[in-house]
């Protein structure tokens, strides 16, 4: 449904996207990457908002930048919070429905608003909406015309855990209906729940693509340094070394240590039983280089 072929995008000297190629079909696909990785630029090009400096992006076989008609099959929720603040939620979504030439715009708008669990009869202007409500009304305007391709840029920002669950389940429902749902995020754990297919972008390049579990395993296989606070660091370190889940250890003070592991998954499984066996209480487990940037740096070098 969506194809990118050798897509690059630069703004002056800044290269935002560099020679990215991929193909996305029906279902939920996560576009994962740290801030500034080029995810939003890629989504904007998919929706025709920006023109690739090089290469091409096609949606349903058409170039959305030049073919206005294909925009009728695309829905997008952009990242920015700004909305047409002088309108109510119903007016805002109804405007989208009108511009998509729907037969019954008011009714379609009500339905879309209810789908994202907002009240279509809420007379308040959008300027009064909370961050979570703004995210949901953006989603409503993106789906009101029942598009085949839905691009959502960081759609879970500002939602509470229950709303996140609801939204993720909505993404899955749309995906299972045969729609192509592309969801960008910079939160690794969030992406885990989106679905199995992932595109990982880092520094404007496509760092990895494929099944999330494979990529997660790749991430887990990388060397990881973890800080542990416990009342018995020496005993716990020996136990972890005995189990072969750490490759090195440095004691820090009387209640701390830093360990190196090459198998994060095995370490996660072993640390609690090891502490229990040693009668040691674990006070803190803190990965020292588990931020997304370091994960992506690692993936890029693989």
């Amino acid at each position: 449904m969506v194809q990118a072929a050798g897509v690059s995008k630069w703004f002056g000297d800044l290269v935002a996207v560099s020679d990215v190629s991929f193909s996305i079909g029906a279902g939920v696909t996560a576009l994962l990457g740290p801030n500034g990785a080029g995810k939003s630029t890629m989504l904007r090009m998919m929706c025709g908002l920006a023109k690739p400096s090089n290469g091409s992006v096609t949606v349903l076989g058409k170039e959305p930048r030049s073919d206005v008609a294909v925009l009728g099959r695309i829905g997008m929720a952009p990242q920015q919070e700004s909305l047409l603040d002088h309108l109510s939620g119903q007016e805002f979504v109804e405007l989208a429905a009108n511009l998509h030439h729907l037969q019954r715009p008011a009714e379609s708008a009500r339905q879309a608003i209810q789908t994202v669990e907002l009240d279509p009869d809420d007379p308040r202007r959008l300027s009064t909406y909370s961050k979570g409500m703004r995210q949901r009304i953006k989603l409503a305007q993106a789906i009101v015309h029942d598009p085949l391709v839905i691009a959502l840029d960081e759609p879970l920002t500002g939602l509470d855990p229950r709303q996140r669950r609801e939204m993720i389940s909505l993404f899955h429902r749309l995906g299972s209906e045969g729609k192509c749902v592309i969801v960008s995020s910079h939160v690794l754990d969030e992406v885990e729940r989106f679905g199995s297919r992932v595109l990982v972008m880092a520094q404007g390049r496509l760092a990895a693509e494929g099944d999330f579990r494979e990529i997660r395993n790749l991430m887990d296989d990388r060397p990881l340094r973890i800080s542990i606070r416990t009342d018995q660091p020496r005993e716990l370190a020996i136990a972890l070394l005995d189990r072969g889940v750490i490759s090195g250890c440095r004691l820090e003070g009387t209640d701390g240590m830093v360990v190196d592991t090459n198998d994060a998954a095995a370490f996660r499984r072993a640390v609690a039983p090891a502490a229990r066996d040693q009668d040691a209480s674990l006070r803190e487990l803190r990965p020292l280089d588990d931020d997304l940037e370091s994960v992506f740096r690692y993936l890029v070098t693989q």
Binding site: L49, A50, A69, L71, Q80, L84, L99, H100
Partner: protein, 232 residues
């Protein structure tokens, strides 16, 4: 033209601050009209008052304030995306923006300045004022709608254009005057009352055609820009 886009932009046009400025300018126009009526050479003073205030200031500034904001505000607060993402032609968005501006600018400007012309008591000035201000409003609206889409600080750039080009440079010679919008509607006023004014010596045909052409050119440029611009 897309009616839904027209309605959305129209609703953003009249903020309380803008209404206040419009009311202020309207009051000044009426007061100036009474002053012209009381003068010794009513025809000359009235014609110059309508030209200098109605066209050079009122029409230019109201068109700038509303025109630059029509699409400019949507660009600035990054909400143009919600109109651009739809399967509607870019020309219909541009036309809707221009129509929304003209819907507000034209009646206010034409009604206030025509009432002012009536107050001066110079009969031959009334119809000419209505036509001249309408043409000036159309031309300036076209330019400033395009300016709002093209530049981030369009209000400042527009002020610079009015002050430097329209009010200063246009006085430097005939060729500069020909490139100044105000000289054309001023010529309509001058033709109606036979009052000779600097800049107001354009032919009758040009006085009508050029402002219309400028407004349309602005509209076409806005349409073209919308197809080329990258939406944030």
């Amino acid at each position: 033209m897309n009616l839904a886009v027209y309605r959305v932009i129209l609703r953003t046009q009249l903020s309380p601050a803008r209404l206040l400025v419009l009311a202020g300018l309207s009051v000044v126009a009426i007061l100036l009209a009474f002053t012209a009526r009381a003068s010794d050479d009513t025809v000359e003073v009235a014609t110059r008052t309508i030209a200098n205030f109605g066209i050079n200031i009122f029409a230019a500034f109201i068109a700038l304030a509303l025109g630059s904001a029509a699409l400019g505000n949507l660009v600035e607060d990054r909400t143009l995306v919600y109109l651009w993402l739809r399967p509607v032609s870019r020309h219909s968005i541009a036309t809707a923006a221009m129509a929304a501006v003209v819907t507000v600018v034209l009646p206010i400007l034409v009604v206030v300045m025509t009432v002012a012309a009536v107050i001066t008591g110079v009969g031959e000035l009334v119809a000419a004022t209505a036509v001249a201000t309408a043409l000036a409003a159309f031309a300036y609206s076209g330019i400033f709608v395009a300016l709002g889409l093209r530049f981030k600080r369009s209000l400042l750039i527009g002020l610079g254009y009015i002050a430097i080009w329209e009010l200063l440079m246009s006085r430097l010679g005939d060729w500069f005057a020909r490139l100044s919008i105000r000289s054309y509607p001023m010529s309509i006023l001058s033709d109606a009352t036979d009052v000779s004014m600097r800049l107001a010596d354009r032919s009758t045909l040009a006085s009508y055609i050029v402002p219309l052409a400028v407004g349309l050119a602005g509209l076409l440029y806005t349409s073209w820009s919308l197809t080329r611009t990258e939406i944030d």
